[in-house]
Protein backbone atom coordinates (compact mmCIF):
# COMPACT_ATOMS: atom_id res chain seq x y z
CA UNK A 1 0.00 0.00 0.00
CA UNK A 2 1.34 3.44 -0.83
CA UNK A 3 2.03 6.16 1.71
CA UNK A 4 -0.74 8.28 0.20
CA UNK A 5 -3.28 5.50 0.70
CA UNK A 6 -2.10 4.94 4.28
CA UNK A 7 -2.50 8.63 4.98
CA UNK A 8 -5.94 8.66 3.42
CA UNK A 9 -7.03 5.71 5.57
CA UNK A 10 -5.70 7.51 8.65
CA UNK A 11 -7.63 10.64 7.70
CA UNK A 12 -10.81 8.69 7.08
CA UNK A 13 -10.67 6.79 10.36
CA UNK A 14 -9.69 9.80 12.44
CA UNK A 15 -12.63 11.14 14.48
CA UNK A 16 -14.98 8.60 12.92
CA UNK A 17 -18.60 9.42 13.67
CA UNK A 18 -21.41 6.88 13.80
CA UNK A 19 -23.77 7.08 10.84
CA UNK A 20 -27.49 6.51 10.65
CA UNK A 21 -28.03 3.50 8.41
CA UNK A 22 -30.30 4.00 5.44
CA UNK A 23 -33.61 2.09 5.84
CA UNK A 24 -34.30 -0.82 3.48
CA UNK A 25 -35.13 -0.13 -0.15
CA UNK A 26 -38.63 -1.59 0.15
CA UNK A 27 -39.41 0.59 3.14
CA UNK A 28 -38.12 3.78 1.52
CA UNK A 29 -39.85 3.05 -1.78
CA UNK A 30 -43.08 2.17 0.03
CA UNK A 31 -42.98 5.34 2.14
CA UNK A 32 -42.41 7.51 -0.89
CA UNK A 33 -45.18 5.81 -2.89
CA UNK A 34 -47.66 6.23 -0.03
CA UNK A 35 -46.62 9.88 0.41
CA UNK A 36 -46.96 10.50 -3.34
CA UNK A 37 -50.38 8.85 -3.67
CA UNK A 38 -51.51 10.69 -0.54
CA UNK A 39 -50.25 14.02 -1.84
CA UNK A 40 -52.01 13.49 -5.18
CA UNK A 41 -55.25 12.48 -3.44
CA UNK A 42 -55.09 15.61 -1.27
CA UNK A 43 -54.33 17.74 -4.34
CA UNK A 44 -57.32 16.27 -6.21
CA UNK A 45 -59.67 16.89 -3.31
CA UNK A 46 -58.33 20.24 -2.12
CA UNK A 47 -57.07 22.08 -5.18
CA UNK A 48 -59.30 20.86 -8.02
CA UNK A 49 -63.02 20.26 -8.56
CA UNK A 50 -62.55 16.79 -7.14
CA UNK A 51 -62.47 13.41 -8.91
CA UNK A 52 -64.24 13.12 -12.27
CA UNK A 53 -67.99 12.82 -11.92
CA UNK A 54 -68.20 9.71 -14.11
CA UNK A 55 -65.59 7.81 -12.12
CA UNK A 56 -68.08 5.11 -11.14
CA UNK A 57 -69.05 4.56 -14.80
CA UNK A 58 -65.43 4.72 -15.96
CA UNK A 59 -64.49 2.08 -13.40
CA UNK A 60 -66.70 -0.36 -15.32
CA UNK A 61 -64.93 0.38 -18.59
CA UNK A 62 -62.30 -2.30 -19.17
CA UNK A 63 -60.05 -0.01 -21.27
CA UNK A 64 -59.98 2.58 -18.46
CA UNK A 65 -59.29 -0.11 -15.86
CA UNK A 66 -56.50 -1.75 -17.90
CA UNK A 67 -54.83 1.59 -18.58
CA UNK A 68 -55.06 2.69 -14.95
CA UNK A 69 -53.70 -0.64 -13.73
CA UNK A 70 -50.85 -0.51 -16.28
CA UNK A 71 -49.94 3.02 -15.15
CA UNK A 72 -49.96 1.88 -11.51
CA UNK A 73 -47.73 -1.12 -12.29
CA UNK A 74 -45.31 1.08 -14.28
CA UNK A 75 -45.22 3.53 -11.36
CA UNK A 76 -44.47 0.80 -8.82
CA UNK A 77 -41.76 -0.75 -11.02
CA UNK A 78 -40.10 2.62 -11.64
CA UNK A 79 -40.27 3.47 -7.93
CA UNK A 80 -38.60 0.24 -6.84
CA UNK A 81 -35.98 0.62 -9.60
CA UNK A 82 -35.21 4.22 -8.62
CA UNK A 83 -34.68 3.36 -4.96
CA UNK A 84 -32.83 0.12 -5.72
CA UNK A 85 -30.41 2.03 -7.94
CA UNK A 86 -29.47 4.20 -4.99
CA UNK A 87 -27.81 1.41 -3.05
CA UNK A 88 -24.50 0.26 -4.53
CA UNK A 89 -24.60 -3.39 -5.50
CA UNK A 90 -22.57 -4.91 -8.30
CA UNK A 91 -25.26 -7.53 -8.95
CA UNK A 92 -28.24 -5.22 -9.06
CA UNK A 93 -27.86 -4.00 -12.63
CA UNK A 94 -29.68 -6.83 -14.46
CA UNK A 95 -32.74 -6.85 -12.19
CA UNK A 96 -33.10 -3.09 -12.15
CA UNK A 97 -32.59 -2.76 -15.88
CA UNK A 98 -35.34 -5.34 -16.39
CA UNK A 99 -37.70 -3.38 -14.10
CA UNK A 100 -36.86 -0.09 -15.82
CA UNK A 101 -37.27 -1.72 -19.21
CA UNK A 102 -40.66 -3.15 -18.26
CA UNK A 103 -41.91 0.20 -16.90
CA UNK A 104 -40.75 1.92 -20.09
CA UNK A 105 -42.33 -0.81 -22.21
CA UNK A 106 -45.66 -0.31 -20.42
CA UNK A 107 -45.54 3.40 -21.13
CA UNK A 108 -44.56 2.91 -24.78
CA UNK A 109 -47.41 0.40 -25.13
CA UNK A 110 -49.86 2.88 -23.62
CA UNK A 111 -48.63 5.57 -26.01
CA UNK A 112 -48.75 3.17 -28.96
CA UNK A 113 -52.30 2.13 -28.04
CA UNK A 114 -53.44 5.78 -27.95
CA UNK A 115 -51.76 6.44 -31.31
CA UNK A 116 -53.55 3.42 -32.75
CA UNK A 117 -56.92 4.42 -31.29
CA UNK A 118 -56.59 8.10 -32.12
CA UNK A 119 -55.64 7.59 -35.77
CA UNK A 120 -55.27 10.95 -37.46
CA UNK A 121 -57.69 12.80 -35.20
CA UNK A 122 -55.88 15.81 -33.69
CA UNK A 123 -56.47 16.53 -29.99
CA UNK A 124 -58.63 19.44 -29.01
CA UNK A 125 -56.40 22.43 -28.24
CA UNK A 126 -57.76 23.05 -24.73
CA UNK A 127 -55.71 20.42 -22.98
CA UNK A 128 -53.18 22.69 -21.30
CA UNK A 129 -54.94 22.57 -17.91
CA UNK A 130 -54.29 18.80 -17.87
CA UNK A 131 -50.58 19.39 -18.46
CA UNK A 132 -50.55 21.99 -15.67
CA UNK A 133 -52.34 19.61 -13.28
CA UNK A 134 -49.97 16.78 -14.20
CA UNK A 135 -46.96 19.01 -13.53
CA UNK A 136 -48.42 20.11 -10.19
CA UNK A 137 -49.11 16.50 -9.19
CA UNK A 138 -45.50 15.66 -9.99
CA UNK A 139 -43.79 18.64 -8.36
CA UNK A 140 -43.84 17.80 -4.63
CA UNK A 141 -43.37 14.02 -5.02
CA UNK A 142 -40.46 14.64 -7.38
CA UNK A 143 -38.75 16.89 -4.86
CA UNK A 144 -39.27 14.18 -2.25
CA UNK A 145 -37.84 11.52 -4.58
CA UNK A 146 -34.78 13.61 -5.43
CA UNK A 147 -34.17 14.31 -1.74
CA UNK A 148 -34.50 10.63 -0.80
CA UNK A 149 -32.29 9.47 -3.67
CA UNK A 150 -29.65 12.10 -2.83
CA UNK A 151 -29.55 10.79 0.74
CA UNK A 152 -28.41 7.46 -0.69
CA UNK A 153 -25.66 6.76 -3.24
CA UNK A 154 -26.65 6.27 -6.80
CA UNK A 155 -24.12 4.36 -8.84
CA UNK A 156 -26.25 4.92 -11.95
CA UNK A 157 -27.30 8.56 -11.46
CA UNK A 158 -28.79 9.13 -14.91
CA UNK A 159 -30.87 5.96 -14.79
CA UNK A 160 -31.94 6.72 -11.22
CA UNK A 161 -33.06 10.19 -12.36
CA UNK A 162 -35.02 8.66 -15.24
CA UNK A 163 -36.69 6.11 -12.95
CA UNK A 164 -37.51 8.71 -10.30
CA UNK A 165 -39.19 11.01 -12.83
CA UNK A 166 -40.93 8.09 -14.55
CA UNK A 167 -42.28 6.93 -11.18
CA UNK A 168 -43.47 10.43 -10.29
CA UNK A 169 -44.96 10.89 -13.76
CA UNK A 170 -46.73 7.53 -13.55
CA UNK A 171 -48.38 8.42 -10.25
CA UNK A 172 -49.16 11.90 -11.60
CA UNK A 173 -50.79 10.34 -14.68
CA UNK A 174 -52.73 8.01 -12.39
CA UNK A 175 -54.06 11.07 -10.58
CA UNK A 176 -54.97 12.61 -13.92
CA UNK A 177 -56.99 9.53 -14.91
CA UNK A 178 -59.05 10.05 -11.77
CA UNK A 179 -59.39 13.78 -12.36
CA UNK A 180 -59.84 14.34 -16.10
CA UNK A 181 -63.05 13.01 -17.64
CA UNK A 182 -61.79 13.30 -21.20
CA UNK A 183 -60.96 9.77 -22.39
CA UNK A 184 -60.39 10.72 -26.02
CA UNK A 185 -57.25 8.83 -27.18
CA UNK A 186 -55.76 11.92 -28.84
CA UNK A 187 -56.24 13.94 -25.64
CA UNK A 188 -54.72 11.21 -23.47
CA UNK A 189 -51.83 10.85 -25.86
CA UNK A 190 -50.88 14.51 -26.16
CA UNK A 191 -51.78 15.91 -22.72
CA UNK A 192 -51.34 12.92 -20.38
CA UNK A 193 -49.06 10.17 -21.67
CA UNK A 194 -46.47 11.80 -23.93
CA UNK A 195 -45.55 14.45 -21.32
CA UNK A 196 -44.77 11.67 -18.81
CA UNK A 197 -42.25 10.11 -21.20
CA UNK A 198 -40.79 13.51 -22.10
CA UNK A 199 -40.42 14.41 -18.40
CA UNK A 200 -38.84 11.00 -17.75
CA UNK A 201 -36.29 11.56 -20.52
CA UNK A 202 -35.46 14.94 -18.95
CA UNK A 203 -34.75 12.93 -15.78
CA UNK A 204 -31.65 11.42 -17.42
CA UNK A 205 -29.55 14.63 -17.44
CA UNK A 206 -31.23 15.80 -14.23
CA UNK A 207 -30.13 12.61 -12.48
CA UNK A 208 -26.64 12.84 -13.87
CA UNK A 209 -26.24 16.32 -12.39
CA UNK A 210 -28.17 16.05 -9.11
CA UNK A 211 -27.66 12.46 -8.06
CA UNK A 212 -23.94 12.08 -8.69
CA UNK A 213 -22.06 10.48 -5.83
CA UNK A 214 -19.78 13.09 -4.23
CA UNK A 215 -16.71 12.51 -2.04
CA UNK A 216 -16.77 14.00 1.46
CA UNK A 217 -15.70 17.65 1.11
CA UNK A 218 -13.66 17.66 4.28
CA UNK A 219 -11.14 15.06 3.07
CA UNK A 220 -11.44 15.38 -0.72
CA UNK A 221 -8.15 16.18 -2.41
Amino acid sequence: MTTDTDKLISDLTKDLKPVKRLPRVALRAGLWAVFTLGAIAVAICAFTKGPREDLHTAAHNHVFCCETLAILVAGVLATVAAFRLCVPDVKVRGVVQAMTGLATFIWLTLIGAQVHRAGLVPPEPAGEPCLTDLSLFMAVPLLGAVFMVMRAASVFPALAGYCAVLATGSFGALGMRLLCANDEPAHLLVWHFLPVMIFALCGLPLGKILLKMQPPKKIAT
Binding site: M1, T5, L8, P88, P215, I219
Partner: protein
Protein backbone atom coordinates in the same frame (compact mmCIF):
# COMPACT_ATOMS: atom_id res chain seq x y z
CA UNK B 1 -10.49 7.55 16.85
CA UNK B 2 -7.69 6.21 14.75
CA UNK B 3 -5.63 3.49 16.28
CA UNK B 4 -2.97 1.00 15.30
CA UNK B 5 -4.58 -1.95 17.02
CA UNK B 6 -3.99 -5.31 15.32
CA UNK B 7 -6.70 -6.05 12.76
CA UNK B 8 -9.53 -8.21 14.08
CA UNK B 9 -11.38 -10.12 11.41
CA UNK B 10 -13.93 -12.66 12.52
CA UNK B 11 -13.41 -15.51 10.05
CA UNK B 12 -16.29 -17.49 11.54
CA UNK B 13 -18.77 -14.86 10.43
CA UNK B 14 -20.32 -15.51 6.99
CA UNK B 15 -19.45 -11.95 5.95
CA UNK B 16 -16.53 -10.74 8.13
CA UNK B 17 -16.09 -7.53 6.12
CA UNK B 18 -19.78 -6.79 6.48
CA UNK B 19 -19.43 -7.23 10.22
CA UNK B 20 -16.55 -4.73 10.27
CA UNK B 21 -18.62 -2.25 8.28
CA UNK B 22 -21.52 -2.65 10.71
CA UNK B 23 -19.13 -1.75 13.52
CA UNK B 24 -17.75 1.15 11.48
CA UNK B 25 -21.28 2.44 10.96
CA UNK B 26 -21.55 2.49 14.73
CA UNK B 27 -18.39 4.63 14.98
CA UNK B 28 -15.79 1.91 15.66
CA UNK B 29 -12.63 3.44 14.15
CA UNK B 30 -10.46 0.34 14.75
CA UNK B 31 -12.89 -1.88 12.85
CA UNK B 32 -13.10 0.74 10.11
CA UNK B 33 -9.33 0.99 9.78
CA UNK B 34 -9.07 -2.79 9.62
CA UNK B 35 -11.79 -2.86 7.01
CA UNK B 36 -10.16 -0.22 4.80
CA UNK B 37 -6.75 -1.86 5.11
CA UNK B 38 -8.28 -5.19 4.13
CA UNK B 39 -10.32 -3.95 1.20
CA UNK B 40 -7.62 -1.77 -0.37
CA UNK B 41 -5.71 -4.75 -1.88
CA UNK B 42 -9.04 -6.25 -3.00
CA UNK B 43 -9.95 -3.00 -4.74
CA UNK B 44 -6.54 -2.76 -6.39
CA UNK B 45 -6.77 -6.36 -7.53
CA UNK B 46 -10.25 -5.64 -8.94
CA UNK B 47 -8.88 -2.62 -10.81
CA UNK B 48 -5.98 -4.67 -12.15
CA UNK B 49 -8.43 -7.15 -13.68
CA UNK B 50 -10.07 -4.15 -15.38
CA UNK B 51 -6.71 -3.52 -17.07
CA UNK B 52 -5.93 -0.24 -15.37
CA UNK B 53 -2.27 0.74 -15.43
CA UNK B 54 -0.28 0.91 -12.20
CA UNK B 55 -0.26 4.69 -12.24
CA UNK B 56 -4.05 4.82 -12.30
CA UNK B 57 -4.71 2.12 -9.74
CA UNK B 58 -3.52 4.07 -6.68
CA UNK B 59 -5.51 7.14 -7.65
CA UNK B 60 -8.71 5.23 -8.40
CA UNK B 61 -8.34 3.10 -5.27
CA UNK B 62 -8.13 6.29 -3.19
CA UNK B 63 -11.22 7.69 -4.87
CA UNK B 64 -13.04 4.43 -4.13
CA UNK B 65 -12.01 4.59 -0.46
CA UNK B 66 -13.34 8.15 -0.32
CA UNK B 67 -16.60 7.03 -1.91
CA UNK B 68 -16.92 4.11 0.51
CA UNK B 69 -16.45 6.56 3.35
CA UNK B 70 -18.98 9.03 1.97
CA UNK B 71 -21.72 6.47 1.45
CA UNK B 72 -21.04 4.02 4.26
CA UNK B 73 -24.51 4.69 5.65
CA UNK B 74 -26.02 2.97 2.58
CA UNK B 75 -24.52 -0.42 3.46
CA UNK B 76 -27.18 -2.85 4.61
CA UNK B 77 -25.84 -5.78 6.69
CA UNK B 78 -28.30 -8.11 4.95
CA UNK B 79 -26.43 -7.48 1.71
CA UNK B 80 -23.01 -9.10 0.98
CA UNK B 81 -20.37 -6.45 1.69
CA UNK B 82 -18.33 -7.28 -1.42
CA UNK B 83 -21.32 -6.71 -3.74
CA UNK B 84 -21.76 -3.29 -2.18
CA UNK B 85 -18.06 -2.47 -2.34
CA UNK B 86 -17.60 -3.68 -5.93
CA UNK B 87 -20.71 -1.74 -6.93
CA UNK B 88 -18.99 1.44 -5.78
CA UNK B 89 -15.64 0.37 -7.26
CA UNK B 90 -17.15 -0.27 -10.66
CA UNK B 91 -18.91 3.08 -10.67
CA UNK B 92 -15.86 5.06 -9.57
CA UNK B 93 -13.54 3.25 -12.00
CA UNK B 94 -15.82 4.04 -14.94
CA UNK B 95 -16.22 7.61 -13.74
CA UNK B 96 -12.48 8.06 -13.40
CA UNK B 97 -11.72 6.70 -16.84
CA UNK B 98 -14.39 8.90 -18.40
CA UNK B 99 -12.79 11.93 -16.79
CA UNK B 100 -9.30 10.87 -17.85
CA UNK B 101 -10.41 10.29 -21.44
CA UNK B 102 -12.13 13.69 -21.58
CA UNK B 103 -9.08 15.34 -20.10
CA UNK B 104 -6.66 13.67 -22.52
CA UNK B 105 -8.83 14.77 -25.42
CA UNK B 106 -8.71 18.39 -24.23
CA UNK B 107 -5.01 18.55 -23.47
CA UNK B 108 -2.73 20.51 -25.73
CA UNK B 109 0.73 19.51 -26.79
CA UNK B 110 3.31 19.49 -24.00
CA UNK B 111 5.44 22.17 -25.64
CA UNK B 112 2.55 24.63 -25.38
CA UNK B 113 2.50 24.51 -21.58
CA UNK B 114 3.83 27.54 -19.80
CA UNK B 115 7.32 27.21 -18.45
CA UNK B 116 6.47 29.15 -15.35
CA UNK B 117 9.39 27.95 -13.24
CA UNK B 118 12.13 28.59 -15.76
CA UNK B 119 14.29 31.70 -15.97
CA UNK B 120 12.70 34.36 -18.13
CA UNK B 121 9.27 32.90 -17.63
CA UNK B 122 6.50 33.73 -20.10
CA UNK B 123 5.49 36.85 -18.22
CA UNK B 124 8.34 37.72 -15.83
CA UNK B 125 6.54 40.72 -14.35
CA UNK B 126 3.68 38.58 -13.15
CA UNK B 127 5.70 35.50 -12.35
CA UNK B 128 5.84 34.42 -8.72
CA UNK B 129 9.07 34.56 -6.89
CA UNK B 130 10.81 31.23 -7.05
CA UNK B 131 11.09 30.93 -3.29
CA UNK B 132 7.37 31.37 -2.72
CA UNK B 133 6.52 28.98 -5.53
CA UNK B 134 8.87 26.37 -4.12
CA UNK B 135 7.16 26.69 -0.76
CA UNK B 136 3.84 25.93 -2.43
CA UNK B 137 5.36 23.04 -4.34
CA UNK B 138 6.58 21.54 -1.07
CA UNK B 139 2.95 21.24 0.01
CA UNK B 140 2.09 19.00 -2.94
CA UNK B 141 2.12 15.20 -2.61
CA UNK B 142 5.46 13.68 -3.62
CA UNK B 143 4.29 12.24 -6.95
CA UNK B 144 2.56 15.42 -8.02
CA UNK B 145 5.56 17.59 -7.13
CA UNK B 146 7.95 15.33 -9.04
CA UNK B 147 5.82 15.33 -12.16
CA UNK B 148 5.68 19.13 -12.13
CA UNK B 149 9.40 19.53 -11.56
CA UNK B 150 10.30 17.02 -14.26
CA UNK B 151 8.03 18.56 -16.89
CA UNK B 152 8.23 22.24 -16.02
CA UNK B 153 11.70 22.70 -14.57
CA UNK B 154 13.76 19.98 -16.18
CA UNK B 155 11.86 20.12 -19.46
CA UNK B 156 11.02 16.45 -19.87
CA UNK B 157 8.02 15.48 -21.97
CA UNK B 158 5.06 13.82 -20.23
CA UNK B 159 6.07 10.45 -21.67
CA UNK B 160 9.67 10.80 -20.42
CA UNK B 161 8.61 12.05 -16.99
CA UNK B 162 6.09 9.25 -16.72
CA UNK B 163 8.74 6.71 -17.61
CA UNK B 164 11.04 8.03 -14.87
CA UNK B 165 8.26 7.74 -12.31
CA UNK B 166 7.10 4.32 -13.51
CA UNK B 167 3.85 5.62 -14.99
CA UNK B 168 2.27 5.65 -18.42
CA UNK B 169 2.01 8.91 -20.33
CA UNK B 170 -1.74 9.14 -19.62
CA UNK B 171 -1.19 8.51 -15.92
CA UNK B 172 1.49 11.21 -15.89
CA UNK B 173 -0.92 13.64 -17.54
CA UNK B 174 -3.59 12.87 -14.96
CA UNK B 175 -1.08 13.34 -12.13
CA UNK B 176 0.13 16.62 -13.69
CA UNK B 177 -3.44 17.88 -14.02
CA UNK B 178 -4.09 17.13 -10.37
CA UNK B 179 -0.85 18.86 -9.46
CA UNK B 180 -1.82 22.04 -11.36
CA UNK B 181 -5.19 22.04 -9.63
CA UNK B 182 -3.69 21.46 -6.21
CA UNK B 183 -0.97 24.07 -6.79
CA UNK B 184 -3.58 26.60 -7.85
CA UNK B 185 -5.61 25.90 -4.69
CA UNK B 186 -2.48 26.20 -2.54
CA UNK B 187 -1.54 29.50 -4.16
CA UNK B 188 -5.06 30.85 -3.61
CA UNK B 189 -5.01 29.67 0.01
CA UNK B 190 -1.69 31.46 0.46
CA UNK B 191 -3.23 34.69 -0.76
CA UNK B 192 -2.04 34.90 -4.39
Amino acid sequence: MASNTTPVINDNHPDPLGLLMQKAQGGDAVAYRTLLNTVTPLIKSYLRTRLFSRGHIDDIAQEILLAIHAVRHTYNPEQPFKNWMYGISRHKAIDYMRKATRQNANETNDVEFETFMADGANNPEEALETKQLRACLEKLPDKQRKILLLTKVEGFSMAEAGKQLGMTESAAKVAAHRAYKKLKETLIDDGY
